[in-house]
């Protein structure tokens, strides 16, 4: 398991350890951004606060890894990696922009979700995967909410 270097940007991981999904919020224009970059990409403001999110979103795209590169993932194949569009700030500040986050789609007991259940348009919610005393990852799991838009998976 990767051991992260500790610096301020790592607060995301620290927050995840407390089971909170947080992103940076610009102290000037108020827009949220992910990953926790060091200036606001819309107004260049440096100051920010951390904003907790609902952790609800929709699968925007995904992939199924059959050939793992990292040794620690080999026993998990095939595993889904999902690009989740979060509910907060959808289509803002321009229609093409949204808060999107990469994670794995997991079962409630934190195993890789079955491929036939992964689809664009499916609703998901955040879950937290504790990896070590200092580290947890925000992950996602399926909900029973109705899908958003057209549901599609690779034939």
């Amino acid at each position: 398991m990767p051991q992260p270097v500790q610096y301020r940007g790592m607060s995301l991981i620290a927050h995840a350890r407390a089971h909170r999904l947080v992103v940076r919020k610009c102290a000037a224009c108020g827009l949220l951004r992910y990953p926790p970059t060091h200036a606001c990409p819309w107004c260049m403001e440096l100051r920010f606060t951390w904003q907790e999110l609902s952790g609800r979103g929709t699968i925007y795209s995904y992939e199924i890894v059959h050939h793992a590169i990292q040794p620690g993932f080999k026993e998990l194949t095939p595993y889904p990696v999902v690009l989740v569009e979060l509910d907060e700030q959808r289509g803002r500040p321009t229609p093409d922009e949204s808060l999107r986050i990469i994670a794995n789609l997991l079962t409630p007991d934190l195993r890789p979700e079955a491929e036939e259940k992964v689809a664009i348009g499916t609703r998901v919610r955040v879950v937290f995967q504790d990896l070590a005393d200092h580290m947890a990852l925000p992950q996602f799991t399926l909900t029973d909410e109705p899908p958003q838009g057209r549901v599609w998976r690779l034939p």
């Binding site: 398991m1 990767p2 992260p4 270097v5 940007g9 790592m10 995301l12 991981i13 951004r33 992910y34 990953p35 970059t37 990409p41 925007y60 795209s61 995904y62 992939e63 199924i64 890894v65 059959h66 050939h67 793992a68 590169i69 990292q70 040794p71 993932f73 998990l76 095939p78 595993y79 990696v81 690009l83 093409d96 922009e97 949204s98 808060l99 999107r100 986050i101 990469i102 994670a103 794995n104 491929e115 664009i120 990852l137 992950q139 057209r150 599609w152 690779l154």
Partner: protein, 404 residues
Amino acid sequence: MKNLRDKYCLVGVGETEYSRGSNRTTRALAVEAVRAAILDAGLTASDVDGMLDYQSGDSTLANHVAPDLGIRLNFYMDVMGGGSSTEALIGLAMGAIEAGMCNTLAIYRSMNGYSEFRIGGTGARAAQPVRGLDLAQVPFGMRSAGQNFAPTFLRHMYEYGTTSEQVAHVKVAHSKHASQNPKALLKDRVTVQDVVGSRWIVKPLHLLDCCLETDNATCLIVTTAERARDCRQRPVSIMGVAGRVSKPRLDFHWAHGPITRVAGYYAKDIVFGQAGIGPEDVDVTGSYDAFTFTTMLQLEEYGFCKKGEGGQYVSSGVIELGGRRPNNTAGGHLCEGYTHGMSMVIENVRQLRGTVDDYCPKAAEGVHTYDYAPGRCRQVKDAEIAMNLGWAMPPLGSALIMRR
């Protein structure tokens, strides 16, 4: 923007063998490739006074390569980067000459991409620490290029109905071209069924949708149009260049959609604007094929077909030898070997000279049969304008237009 159309030329090209086990250092490979390009141009070491190269912590530096060949430099720069650096450095070479810093430059890329630093993320690269923005992807098992690009490819299938079978035609075409290329690592022609029947790497990519990690070095020589007239080869003029054009949010481009849009959306006006031509004027393309999908995405983004119709375009026969606008006629990264883009520019230079190194007995003299049966010819008849579409990743790319 300033326009230097036709003021600079590519006058020399050279490469080492493409292999999966060079048993040599990147310095030894680079020296051989640079030497070959200088000789190809009909120049000597004292004619070259500039050097540019690119790498990602996996290669040798210009201040080792130049002195090995007895080259005294007035300018050099070692640049970090991978795919799409080739076209960008050709533009920088023109700028270095324009600024009066040097006269003639060698641009090289040398890599043991199979036996040492594997591009796919295994080997020496696997030991790199995970930090900064890597934390947003790598801890989730998303590390290799294929893993990084797959959500873009899948979303294209969702938005436009693109199929695995359609993009498999890119591999089919490039394998056809490689069968005419004595240098190619994979010379066997494959079918659509071979591609979609190969094992999954990361859906929607099959094994045969992915390029070949390769050991090799490659080199290009850039100089002014005036000096080009004294070189050995028919000069190839640079009509336009766009270097490392990016989408917004380059590092985590998922935030700025549509994610099926690639950097060519922003690069095309720069490069076509300089060249004063449009896609319909291009005879040969070199659309980077790290994966079958990347070739397709770039061709549609640069306007060779409508956005969203890339799947139909690449499966229509247009991109094959004998078609209207063949792509990667040496077999590309999918079949010839992976060079981070250099080989595709080298091939297009040879196409414009009329001297591609196929199996035609008098190929070096520009005599070709135009018989595209296996093991024969890969010269495009009367190719006048060629275009390279360099890819680093969905939000980053470069482009180059050349004419004979």
